[in-house]
Structure formats: structure tokens, C-alpha cells
Amino acid sequence: MAATDRPLRIGSIVAAALSVTALPAAHAESAPEKGSIALKYLYYRDFQKNDTQYPGEPKPDGAKFDRITVKAPSVLLVVPIGSDWSVEAGATVDDVSGATPRYYSSVSGATKAPGGMSDKRNAGDVKVTRHFSRGAVAVGVATSSENDYDSSAVSLEGRYATEDNNTTFHLGAAATRDKIGSTDDPALDERRRTNEVMAGVTQVLGANDIVQVNLGYRHGAGYFNDPYKSADRRPDERNQGTLLARWNHHVVPLGSTLRSSYRFYKDSFGIAAHTVEAAWVQPFAEWWSVTPSLRYYSQGAAKFYCDPSSDPAVFPFCPGSPTFATTDQRMSAFGAVTLGIKLQLRWEDWTGDVKYERYTQKSDWKLGGSGSPGIDPLYADMVQVGVSKAF
């Protein structure tokens, strides 16, 4: 290999360069090249007007009752490590205060604790991802803790893209262990184990369309009762299945994107639910966009949910002595509409957004009508502000 002044072969350097650049891509999918930090603040409040006359209860005066209020600041950090690894970490502190309804939408009883409930939830999670040429594998842990509820979870997920990057397969599994206590009953010490699997595929259908289908299955065993509700007895096993289909369509002349999805949910409690959602991302100039969104949700009641009894001797419990029973309105049949609008601003490495959503839940709005009777409409407002910076 010593230097010589012998004549060059024609194009020898060009040929050598081509053999180098023709190397296969070493890292088609690389770790995020930038880290980012995001701060978010969520304010949630739901309320109900008490208009339904329940047996043996005072005549409702139509007063508006604030129920749950949540104030949750959170921070999310993404840090790339080398070109193959990334670490994501999040932490949130929820301040939850208010009252969960004891019976149906009757708010007079609130929780059994005087003055309603007040709680603080601390939650955190860490996920480590190893990026490969056409895929990634991630391992995560998450914990959350309240004074009457502790939860911890581990997850494993992977994704793999075909050579043309048009098709991506996802697989995931997670295990959650919950510990349930109650401030009303210090002796309560229950457990719940949940294991879930998820599989999905994402397909690019051309320059402007992308579709995704996900299937999920979850098996839970243990304590499902609501410890703050009297005579709440639920099965100690719950199996849940979901089918989610998404379609994102880019509208070239407007530069906007339609995001739509349909989700079907069914579980062994007997609840079946449909969700359809659409959001329209409309950019204006390069630095800001507005996203109005609409979501409709409808569910059928759980098998063991019972409608309010008209017999004052029975109300608020279920007639007879069924093995399983609940009067939790979240297990009833209803429909709900969420209207939202989000404003996003971007400037260099900074992103800021503000989102407002109004949720309205009514029995009458169940798909096909005939939702559970005797429940007042529930409203919720959600405001979220966030700012993030890439570095």
C-alpha cells in the first residue's frame, strides 16, 4: 500500500467512493437526535345539576354541584443517549378534591368522609428504548401512589418496520399490580393484578394517508369494587378487549390533516362501547395551528348495574340480593360528546399549546337512545396548557 506515482486507473477514486456510499444505512431508525423537556398543567372539573327526584331524598333544587376537581402539573423529559438509546421520564402530581357521587347522580351523600374527598396522587414513569435499524424495543416502569391506592406497572413493547418503511408492526405487553385501601376503612387491603397484550399494524397508503389498526386484550383479577360505595360488589375478574382503527388524511390544498379514529370496546362486565373521534389540524403559517375536535362515546350498562329503585325501602341499593351489584353511574348506559379546541404555537425549539375540552354525558345520548334512567347529565371542563423545548 505504499505511495507510488504509477498512473491512475480511470475513475478509481470515483469507484471507491461509490462502494463506500452504497453501504446499507447503518441507522435508518435512530434515536431522537434531540432531547426535550415538556411542562404541562391540567385543570379538570366536573359537575352535575341535581334534577332527579330520588326516593326518600329531598326534592332537588336544581343546584349545580361541583364534583371532582383535578389540578395536575407534570413534567416529561426525553433524553437521547448515544445514537441508539433514549430515555423518557415523566412525573406528575395530581391534586384531586371533591366528591364522588354515592348513588347514581345524587350528590347529597357525596363520599362517606365528611367534606368530600381530597387526595394527592404522585406518579412517575421511566421508559428506556433501544433503537435498531428498522425498529425499537422499549422497557418501562411506572408507579403511582395515593393514600388509598398504589399502582405499579412494567411494560415491554417493540416495533418493526418493513424495508420500505411503509408498514410498521407493534407488539406490547404490560403487567400492573394495584393495592387498594380506603380512608373510610383502614382495614381494607386489597389487590388487583392486570396483564395486557397489544398488537397493531400501521400502513402508509401513499403520500397523504396513513392507517392503523390495534387490538388489545386485558385480563384483570382481584378487587374491582369501589370501596367508597355501599353495597358495591363486582366480579373479581375482568376481561377487556379493544379494537382501535385510525386514519389520518392529509388535505394537500389546505395543508391540513384530518385525524379520525373508531374504537370498539367490550368487557366481561357486559359493557360494550363505541368511540368515534375526529380532529382537524389546521396550520396557519409555519408557527401556529388550530385543532378543533369532536368525540362521541356510547356505552351499554354493565350486567350488574341496576337502575334506581322506586321503592324507598330499597333505594339506593339494588332490589333483591344479587351476587354482583353496582349503582356507579360510570357503569350505566349513556352517551357522551366531547368538543375541543387546541391552539399550538411553535417557535424554533419551543412549542406551546392550550387545549380546552367540554364533555357532556347524557343517558339519552346512548347510541340508539334508551340509556339508563334516573341519572342527571354530567359535564366536565378540561383545560391544559403546556410548553416544551427541544435541546
Partner: protein, 307 residues
Amino acid sequence: MGDTPTMIPDFGFEFDAMGTVCQLRVCAHSQVLAEAAAQRAIGEVRRIEAKYSRYRPDSIVSRINAAAGTGERIAVDDETAGLLRFADTLYEASAGRFDITSGILRRVWDFKAARVPSAAEVDALLPDIGWFQADWDGESLALRRPGMELDFGGFAKEYAADRAAAVLHEAGIAGGTVNLGGDVSVVGPHPGGHPWKIGIAHPRRPGDVVASIDLSHGALATSGDYERSFEVDGRRYCHILDPRTGWPVTRWQSVSVVGPACLAAGALTTIAMLMGDEAHDFLRGQGVAFLTVDAGGHLHREKPDGP
């Protein structure tokens, strides 16, 4: 999606990497798609920058340099082996003019301070320069002398331009360009079929172009005595240093080469700058189109003879 191809717009992205301003032009149906592809290309440039940086103690280059003179052989990955094979070819084909061990000359050549080193200072470094003193077996490498250093600065930017263009192509982008501080790799022509017009900077009048070249495929690179240089007593000293003497070239103000890959074009411009009077013959021998500006400011332009 009934758009005719000519209606596909192109989107521009600018970022800093490789110590210079980098630009991407990406033809795509939407900003979102262009951005997604651009992000991958930018990621590829940054990956190469990090991998071959002398400033990162964990880079392969730093590990090789740290082991210089110890006898320890550093095994390299396939990508690095490919680039070292290329460097070996360049050294041989340029009769020692293109040498990736010549970077240590920057210890005495300070272009920011505009200081001309003494002949003794330069000569003291020459024993530690020479690719023939690297023990390279195709898979692992040892630098025999403790003062030696490898520097991929001579082609890392050009290689990154080619790789970024390849990544854009893999991301489904048919038309676009990657411009890393004047080293340009073309992804493909405008979807309408017309080529990209790429200006070549005038070596003496900043902001002016000396010529403009139409490119649909391939790459364009330019080396010049104006990029990092200073003048002392009416003499110009530029950053293109002959590793055999340690002193700057003087024959050409600039050399531009159009070739099938930016890695080739960039290496050829550097070697041509170092070749002096033989530059034109050398470039003809490589079968590439070129444009040179000689020391007197005269332009020479040639296209290879067709087969």
C-alpha cells in the same frame, strides 16, 4: 392525490452541523411528510458527525488516536472500515497527497490567528504524518507513532451529504438536495423533471457566484483557498496543506467537481488542489466534470468525453 408530479412543492430545512450551515430541499406532498423525511436525514448527518468527531472522547476516531503508539489494535465497524478503505485508496491514488493523518498540522497552522508557523515548527510534525505508518489490515487499525492522529474531516461532510441523500431516498423522497456547507448531494431532480441550479461561490468576491451548474443526479463539491485562509505580506495561506511538506497549496483558487457521489467529488477537489499543474489531467483521468479557477482568477471548465 390526483396531483400531477409537477405540483409537488419543495420544502427547505436549515440546520447547523459539521461546523457549517446545512440545507435540505425536500420535494413532498406535504410539509408533514417533508419534515418527517428531513428529520431522518438530519439525524443521519448528526450521527455521522458524532461518530467521527475528534472532539468526542468516545468516538471511534478518538479511541484510535488515544491508542496511537501503544501497539493496541482498534477493531472498527463495517462503516468505518469502508471509509478507511476509501482513505487508503485516496492515499495511494494521490501519491500521498490525500492523507487522513495530516490533521495534526493544525497544531501549528492557526487560521484564526493568521499566524505563519516557522519551518522548524512544521518540520517537527512531519515524522508523525503518513498513512503508511498506520497498520491497517482491513478490520482493525493501529497508529504506530504516539504522536499520530486520524482525522476524518477530509471527507466526513461529503460522506454525510451522500448518506443524508440516501436516507431521504429511503424515506420515499424522489426529488431534493442535501447541501452541507457547499458540498451538495442530489436526491433526484425536481418532480417536474427539471434539474436543480447550484451556484459555485466566487473564490474572491464573497456572495458572488462564479458559475452555476444544473444537476439532476449526483453531487457537487468545491474546495478553495478562500474557505479558511489568511494573507500575510501579500501571500495567501489556505487550509489545504500538503501532508508531504506541511505547507499550503497555491496553484488554484478553487476546484469544483461534479461526480456521482459527494464523497468522490469532495476527495477529488482536495486532491486536485494538491496536484498543482497536474490537476486537470488527474480530473480527466477520473472521468468527472470539473471547473477550476486558477491563481490568476481564470476559469476552466471541462466535461468528460462521452463514451
